[in-house]
Subunit: 139 residues, 2 copies
Amino acid sequence: MLTEQGILDQLSQAGYRITRPRRAVIAALLEDEGHHSPAEVHERALVRCPTVGLVTVYRTLELLADLGLARRIHTDDGCHGYAGASHGHHHHLLCRHCGAAVEFEGCDLSPLFEKIGRTTGYCVDEHLLELIGLCPACQ
Amino acid sequence: MLTEQGILDQLSQAGYRITRPRRAVIAALLEDEGHHSPAEVHERALVRCPTVGLVTVYRTLELLADLGLARRIHTDDGCHGYAGASHGHHHHLLCRHCGAAVEFEGCDLSPLFEKIGRTTGYCVDEHLLELIGLCPACQ
DNA sequence: TTGTGTGCAAAATCTTTGCACTTCG
DNA sequence: CGAAGTGCAAAGATTTTGCACACAA
C-alpha cells in the first residue's frame, strides 16, 4: 500500500513540486479504499485545502495516474473514477439483469499473461477484466 | 454469437418496435468485433440510415444494454463504449504506445469464474478481458 | 389509429484550455 | 528569483431532456 508520504516522495523525485493542493488531493484519494469521481475527490480535498479548484483536482489526478501513483477506474456508474494505486487490483462483476456491481479481488492471471507474452512478443503489464452474469437475486 | 436477426427478435419479443434507426444502430454495432463510442456507432449507423440522430443512438444503445443485447465497455480511452453482447469472448491485446491491437484466444478462466461464483453467489457466464502492454516494436 | 420511437434544439454535465497570479524550491 | 503550479472563467465535449411529428404494429 502506497502511503501519502510515499507518493509525495515519488512526486518529488520525479521533479514535481509538493504543494498544498496536491497534498490535499492525495490525502483525499487515500482517505478510503473506494474509487471516486474527480468531483468527489474535490469535495474531500476542500476540507484540507479550502481554496483548491476542481481544475487542479483533474490535473493532479491525471498526473498521479500517469506516474502510476493512482489508478483510473471504470465502472458503469460514473466513469472516470480514481483510486489509490495500491488499493488492490479489483475487478467488477456485473449482474446482466439488475445491473448490480460487485468488486472482487484475487484474480491471478500472471500465468496467462506470461503465456500471451511469449506468444505475441508483447510485454503485458495491465489488464481490464469484467465478468458478467446473474446475481443471486436475479437467478 | 448473437446475430442481427437474433437481436431484432428479442427486441420484438420484449415489446419494442423494429425501426430503421434501430436496425442501423444494431448493424453498426455488430459490424466488427471492437467496442465503440456512441459517436462512432452513430457515424456507422448513418450509412444505413442517413437520418438517424445521435440521440437515437444513445437511446438505442442504452436499451440494448439494458436488455443484455449489447454491452457497455469501459476502457481508459473513451469510456462509454459499447460492443455486441456476444463479443465478450474475443480478447484484445493493446499496445499502450502505438495502439496496435491483437486478438488472442485460449484464455481459460473457468476456474476463476467458479471460485468467484462460489464466493459471491453470482452465476458468471460471460466476461471481457483486455490486456494492455507494449508491443515488440515499442518496447 | 395509437402510442412508441424519432429528430431537433436546448439544457445540463463533465472536462479541458488560456491566462495572469502564486508559491515552491 | 524563476519556473512550475494554481484558480478562475470560458470554451469544448459529451450526454440528457422536452416536445411535436413520424411511423410500426
